[in-house]
């Protein structure tokens, strides 16, 4: 099975829009496929692919957080002194800043029957599901707000995909914005990254950073420019940049109001035959698949 991951650096460039169209086109082409949503903070793919039989649905406990037993805490402050994430203040743990490192438990001088006054306890970090949809196996998750387990949840989403994907030949993975831990977790084990860029200074600045990240992890990448006609000058600059950096731009997709309509009807854009964007997305799909199959 070949894995395609769709990233951008900057948010809102059209990753989910393109991912959903690819998933639809794979079905149209009768290629056995599966897909995953690695934007576990705010997943959106399930809004388009909502039907399907649930194969797996489970709560996750991917993190531990410090918990203080106030009944025997002496408020000595040693934990606060050693906590580097700023999570300990005046004998109270901020669970959203605590990283679960265990230093507080280590240094706590108060011990009652083998239990320290501050200890790490598992917390619920959200849930993940796998469903069998008409378009293939779909793996997704919803991270609980502030749970701080994005990377681990993404690992689980991909692991679930691998466990349930069966005879799939292609996996489409919708990524999240950024370049940090969630992206690094998403990239692991992927065969090809498709970078979705838009013609804006912000997107170009972020392209440079995401490309560096992808290249550090030694995964091949290709790109496309979405809403390219909004600024032909900036699109041209992107073309030049990508040429200099040996990043093939497979397609330029025009701005198309039908895309917003498709999103608001929770349908892939390629369902709309008369959409100019859909035509270009089809072309992008063919070229991306070709790249993927050659790897």
């Amino acid at each position: 099975m070949k894995q395609l991951l769709i990233l951008s650096g900057k948010g809102g460039t059209g990753k989910t829009t393109i991912a959903s169209s690819f998933i639809s086109l794979l079905k149209q082409g009768e290629t056995p496929a599966c897909f995953a949503d690695c934007d576990v903070d705010v997943p959106n793919l399930h809004l388009i692919f909502s039907d399907g039989e649930t194969c797996l649905s489970q709560s996750t406990c991917f993190n531990r957080r410090a918990v203080i037993d106030q009944s025997f805490c002496t408020h000595c402050g040693v934990c606060e002194e050693h906590c580097r994430s700023g999570a300990m203040k005046n004998g109270v743990v901020n669970p959203y800043l605590c990283e679960g490192c265990g230093v507080c438990e280590l240094v706590c001088p108060v011990n009652r029957d083998g239990h320290k006054a501050v200890q790490l306890a598992e917390i619920n970090t959200g849930d993940y599901t796998v469903s069998d949809t008409d378009f293939g196996i779909f793996s997704t998750a919803q991270l609980k707000s502030g749970a701080g387990a994005t990377g681990k949840t993404i690992n689980a989403v991909k692991q679930n995909l691998a466990s349930f994907c069966g005879e799939s030949q292609v996996a489409v993975i919708d990524g999240s914005p950024g370049i940090g831990c969630p992206i690094i977790s998403s990239i692991a084990g992927v065969d090809l990254v498709l970078l979705v860029v838009e013609p804006s200074l912000s997107s170009m600045s972020d392209l440079e950073r995401i490309l560096k990240t992808v290249r550090q992890l030694k995964v091949p990448a290709v790109a496309c420019i979405n809403r390219a006609d909004i600024s032909p000058e900036l699109s041209q600059q992107i073309q030049l940049y990508c040429q200099e950096h040996e990043l093939p731009i497979l397609e330029e997709i025009p701005f198309d109001p039908l895309v917003i309509r498709a999103v608001n009807h929770s349908r892939p854009v390629v369902d709309y035959d008369n959409s100019p964007a859909a035509q270009h997305i089809r072309s992008l799909f063919e070229k991306t698949l070709q790249h993927l199959q050659q790897l």
Binding site: M1, F62, G151, K152, N155, A156, K158, Q159, A162, A188, G189, L217, K218
Partner: protein, 108 residues
């Protein structure tokens, strides 16, 4: 010498795993005794699975690892532990073991 291969099932004729760290099991083959057994992963879905898998290899005195792919961090730990890493060929764990013993696998 102990040769390790990541697999998804506890069966030497099963296909080798496409990953290293995220594998469910590791087949360990002792070339001196011709015995093999399986190690079960406790961390396949967790963080830093590659590093933990590499540590597991080191702690079980593995000399050769045959794998399809391997992350940079895991490779660094494996090298520090003097474990040689070879590229799998398509097929079962048994096929890969035979090729390895025949010296026809290439380094990863």
């Amino acid at each position: 010498m102990i040769i390790a291969i990541p697999v998804e099932q506890k069966d030497p004729d099963a296909c080798v795993s496409s990953t290293f760290g995220r594998s469910g099991y590791f087949l360990l083959f002792d070339s001196q005794t011709n015995d093999f057994h399986f190690l079960e992963s406790t961390f396949a879905t967790g963080q830093s699975a590659g590093i933990r898998a590499a540590q597991l290899m080191i702690d079980n005195h593995v000399g050769v690892l045959i794998t399809n792919r391997c992350g940079e961090n895991a490779m660094r730990l494996l090298s520090a532990g003097n474990i040689q890493v070879y590229q799998t060929i398509a097929g079962s764990a048994r096929d890969n073991l035979e090729r390895c013993l025949a010296g026809t696998l290439s380094r990863l």
